[in-house]
């Protein structure tokens, strides 16, 4: 198993920069998920790691070897494609054995290995079939088997579950996670599905327009989003983002139309514009006197176990999520509040997360922008 390092990896297509100066260190045995909206450069990044696409700048290192200019077949990597890319003219057994035949292993060694992998993936009965005689989930497992059979240094997967229905997707998700734990394999996994990312990843990389937005564990990216992009991408519905002004009145408060909330920071500083972020599940209903946000309910969505109320506070949209029944109906006034520790502040210009630094320390490499300094 291997460690993968990307050093300033960049790829341009004419005027478009698909991947922009990406620095990344994927530790041995890590399950790294590349997450981002469509067109943000996930596949391009993965294909550069695979060697299917040359970078226009930067380096790729596998363990300590520079493999930037090594052809794919000499890199010790296996890839699972979104379309599965099974060889249509070959049986399942020969599809799985293909990489071994390419490496000229002995026939009986190939057979043993294929049988072993087929048993792990529950494909033993299907070994004689052609890909077109398989269901989507079975094809997906064959594609996985073809990657597994090689014992590669790392697995690269490009949206391998996106062609499956919801139920199959969640079972295959568990299967892949299980495989990762059993093999201790390094995996780089591309998806635009945040549930996949949150459930499978040891670390998530959020990409936007080819740039790294944030790298961290699922908890880190969810609990401390580094930017409004990350905050607005994760969660369903995502974090509420409301433009406001931060100002000291004894303690620091954020206020806007129909909004006035305690940020829980005992500090003095000049007023400044901020973006206030609060997750829908952290907002709770309260009495009109205690309400920090006063709005009107527009619609209520029933998710089965929970309900989501879409409200309008001033002219900002704010969602509230909670156990059903939430006790709100369209047209009702909504009186909401949230605990200070669940609030997030972002810089309106850069979108970066703002942090309160009681003692500014220039040596600390905080990615976060200081909110202000003690007055």
């Amino acid at each position: 198993m291997s460690r993968i390092r990307l050093e300033g990896l960049t790829r341009r297509f004419g005027a478009v920069t698909a991947v922009d100066d990406v620095w990344l260190d994927v530790a041995d045995g890590e399950f790294l998920v590349l997450l981002g909206p469509s067109g943000c450069g996930k596949s391009t990044l993965l294909r550069m790691i695979a060697g299917l696409l040359g970078p226009t700048g930067g380096r790729v290192l596998l363990d300590d070897t520079d493999i930037t200019h090594t052809p794919p077949r000499e890199r010790d990597l296996a890839m699972v494609f979104q379309s599965y890319a099974l060889y249509p003219h070959l049986s399942v057994a020969r599809n799985i054995g293909f990489p071994l035949r390419a490496r000229r292993l002995r026939k009986d060694a190939i057979r043993t290995k294929v049988d072993e992998v087929a048993a792990v993936l529950d494909l033993t009965e299907l070994l004689a079939r052609k890909p077109k005689e398989l269901s989507g989930g079975q094809r997906q497992r064959v594609a996985l088997g073809r990657a597994l059979v090689r014992d590669p240094g790392a697995f690269l997967m490009d949206e391998p579950l996106s062609n499956l229905d919801a139920k199959l997707r969640s079972s295959t998700r568990a299967e892949i996670s299980g495989l990762h734990q059993r093999l201790g394999a390094t995996v780089v996994y591309v998806t635009h599905d945040q549930v996949e990312a949150m459930t499978m990843a040891t670390r998530i990389v959020l990409l936007d327009h080819g740039k790294l937005e944030q790298v961290g564990t699922p908890e880190e990216v969810y609990d401390r989003p580094a930017s409004t992009f990350v905050a607005g991408f994760l969660g369903s519905p995502p974090m509420n983002l409301v433009p406001a002004t931060a100002e000291s009145r004894g303690t620091l408060r954020a206020h806007a139309t129909d909004l006035d909330i305690d940020l829980g920071i005992p500090a003095e500083m000049p007023a400044r514009p901020v973006i206030l972020g609060v997750r829908p599940e952290h907002l709770r209903l309260t009495t009109p006197e205690d309400a920090a946000l006063r709005g009107v309910v527009r619609t209520v969505e029933n998710l089965g176990s929970e309900e989501v109320a879409h409200c309008l506070v001033g002219d900002a949209r704010v969602c509230v999520r909670g156990p059903r029944p939430l006790g709100l109906r369209a047209g009702d006034p909504a009186h909401l509040t949230a605990a200070p520790e669940t609030l997030h502040l972002f810089d309106p210009d850069s979108g970066r997360r703002l942090a309160w630094q009681p003692t500014p320390d220039p040596a600390a490499a905080e990615p976060e922008v200081p909110l202000g300094s003690p007055a």
């Binding site: 695979a50 494609f81 979104q82 990489p99």
Partner: protein, 283 residues
């Protein structure tokens, strides 16, 4: 009332379209008779008794195989058929190989002057045979290949049609399949033979048949190269044409035999051919 009216309209539409169908079929029947009649006449004449060659009766009667016996006696038909088969098969295989390699390069790689080279390659299609005929002939005579089967085959090995069709198919080839094979450890050469060729087998078969039939039917070029021999059957036909008149009976018999392999090939593989061409049209 309204429903009845609707039914009426529907019926009249049905009748109109039935009329059109009948008309269409009539045209098709006339056309196929026009196409098939000469071939029928060929076989009919070849089967008439020697005295009846100029008979205009539609049904040949009494039937006789005498012309066939005559043809076999006057010319070495079997050897000619074998030679022709060799020429057709080798030409088709050679053209397929050249076409495959060229198309793989044109479709799979980006290199300098790619467009220009491709245009030139395909442009050879537009150059009339009469233009290249003399230079090729001179070259063959310098290489001492005149009057050999190799002389017939080698100059035709590069078929623009083959390159064109195969490139089109390769452009539609799923890219992820090629990339998967690269990840799985195959070289470009290995990918061509382990992934591309097996997947394109129906296309290659259809194109191969088309090229083989074309090569089989070729008359002029073999006639030029094989001036002093009757090595291929198309030239063997000449031996029945004399200055003092043509020997129609054996000529028709030989011509009939010449057509048979092509008919057989087409009938056996018809579905294959039609499928591949329909699919190549849709993709």
């Amino acid at each position: 009332m309204t429903t009845e009216g609707a039914v009426d309209v529907e019926q009249s539409v049905g009748e109109g379209s039935r009329l059109r169908t009948v008309g269409g079929h009539a045209v098709l029947i006339v056309l196929s008779v026009v196409c098939v009649f000469p071939i029928y006449w060929l076989y009919a004449t070849s089967l008439r008794a020697p005295g009846d060659v100029y008979s205009l009766s539609v049904l040949p009667w009494p039937l006789s195989l005498e012309h066939y016996a005559d043809a076999f006696a006057k010319a070495d038909i079997l050897r000619m058929l074998i030679n022709t088969t060799i020429v057709a098969v080798l030409t088709a295989l050679g053209q397929l190989l050249v076409g495959l390699l060229a198309a793989y390069a044109f479709a799979g790689w980006k290199f300098r002057f790619q467009k220009l080279l491709y245009l030139m390659f395909v442009g050879t299609w537009l150059v009339p045979f009469q233009v290249t005929m003399m230079p090729n002939y001179v070259l063959l005579s310098r290489l001492d290949l005149l009057n050999t089967l190799a002389g017939v085959i080698v100059p035709t090995l590069c078929s623009a049609l083959g390159v064109l069709m195969l490139r089109q198919h390769l452009l539609g080839f799923p890219k992820e399949l090629l990339e998967a094979a690269r990840m799985d450890g195959r070289s470009s050469w290995g990918i061509l033979w382990t992934v591309v060729v097996p997947t394109l087998r129906p296309v290659l078969a259809a194109l191969g048949i088309l090229l083989a039939i074309t090569a089989w039917n070729e008359y002029f070029w073999p006639a030029l190269v094989l001036q002093r021999s009757n090595d291929v059957v198309q030239l063997g036909l000449r031996s029945f044409m004399g200055t003092e008149g043509n020997d129609w009976g054996p000529l028709m018999a030989t011509a009939g035999l010449t057509c048979l392999p092509v008919f057989l090939l087409y009938m056996v593989l018809q579905r294959h051919i039609v499928n591949a061409f329909v699919r190549s049209g849709l993709k």
